[in-house]
Symmetry: C2
Subunit: 144 residues, 2 copies
């Protein structure tokens, strides 16, 4: 009989919570005919135009390869456009297009509703404490 420690139990629970949050996020996003990753990216880009792929990836805490994939899809669907830097042609800078601006407010509202639901009935103190816990976990994971 394999013994599962309390920490392992919470580790699994954490992943379960994230899967559920992801599913719910996609449900909210369907109103904008978009997926959560694209929504995240558009939200970020709408506030930070002209950044390079690497800068975007770093800010969103994903790999440059993952950034490229979602950016490419958003460009193909007319939400954004890429433009290579005049002085350094290795750099590809990303800008919003009309198609993107048109859906931003819907996406913003979806994320807001999503996290209102996610943390329904959490008081300020709970949120602070949870935030501390999550930062603590990040530090632990990155320290490995």
């Amino acid at each position: 009989m394999i013994i599962q420690t309390k920490k392992e139990k919470i580790g699994h629970l954490l992943m379960h919570v994230c899967r559920e949050r992801g599913k719910t996020a996609d449900q909210f996003m369907t109103q904008s005919k978009i997926f959560r990753g694209q929504g995240m990216m558009l939200m970020f880009l709408s506030e930070h135009e002209g950044l390079t792929h690497s800068e975007i990836a770093e800010r969103l805490n994903i790999s440059p390869a993952a950034a490229t994939k979602v950016i490419k899809r958003l460009e193909e669907e007319g939400y954004i456009k890429r433009q290579s830097d005049d002085k350094d042609e290795r750099l590809s800078r990303v800008f919003m297009q009309e198609g993107g601006r048109a859906v931003i407010s819907g996406i913003q509202s979806s994320f807001k509703k999503l996290d209102e639901q996610t943390f329904h009935n959490f008081g300020d103190e709970d949120l602070d404490r949870l935030e501390d816990y999550l930062h603590h976990i990040l530090t632990n994971l990155k320290a490995g």
Copy 2:
């Protein structure tokens, strides 16, 4: 300027934490030449032999389709085997094979180390509180 609420900030942080935990999990699992999803499945199966795909999926909180994929891969690599139920041929029951039993203890140790690292310096009270928070979030998400 788009305003991000505290809850949204924590929502993003939560997903970030899960990505990092997933990456770290895979790093630990490479010692057993396996990936985290396969490791999870093997751990579970070693304690619950003879269950059907649907039962397994339900217990692991994933879709039956996701369960099928990882089970199929594990079978191809000789860790487990599937056997259809005598009385109901729709049911496919899963059993450990020697190949699977051989790696269980390594996997178990990896998960233990992973979550020791993840929750390093968390006291009992912190763990209890975090567990409560995560259950609360799950309830909120499923209530939608």
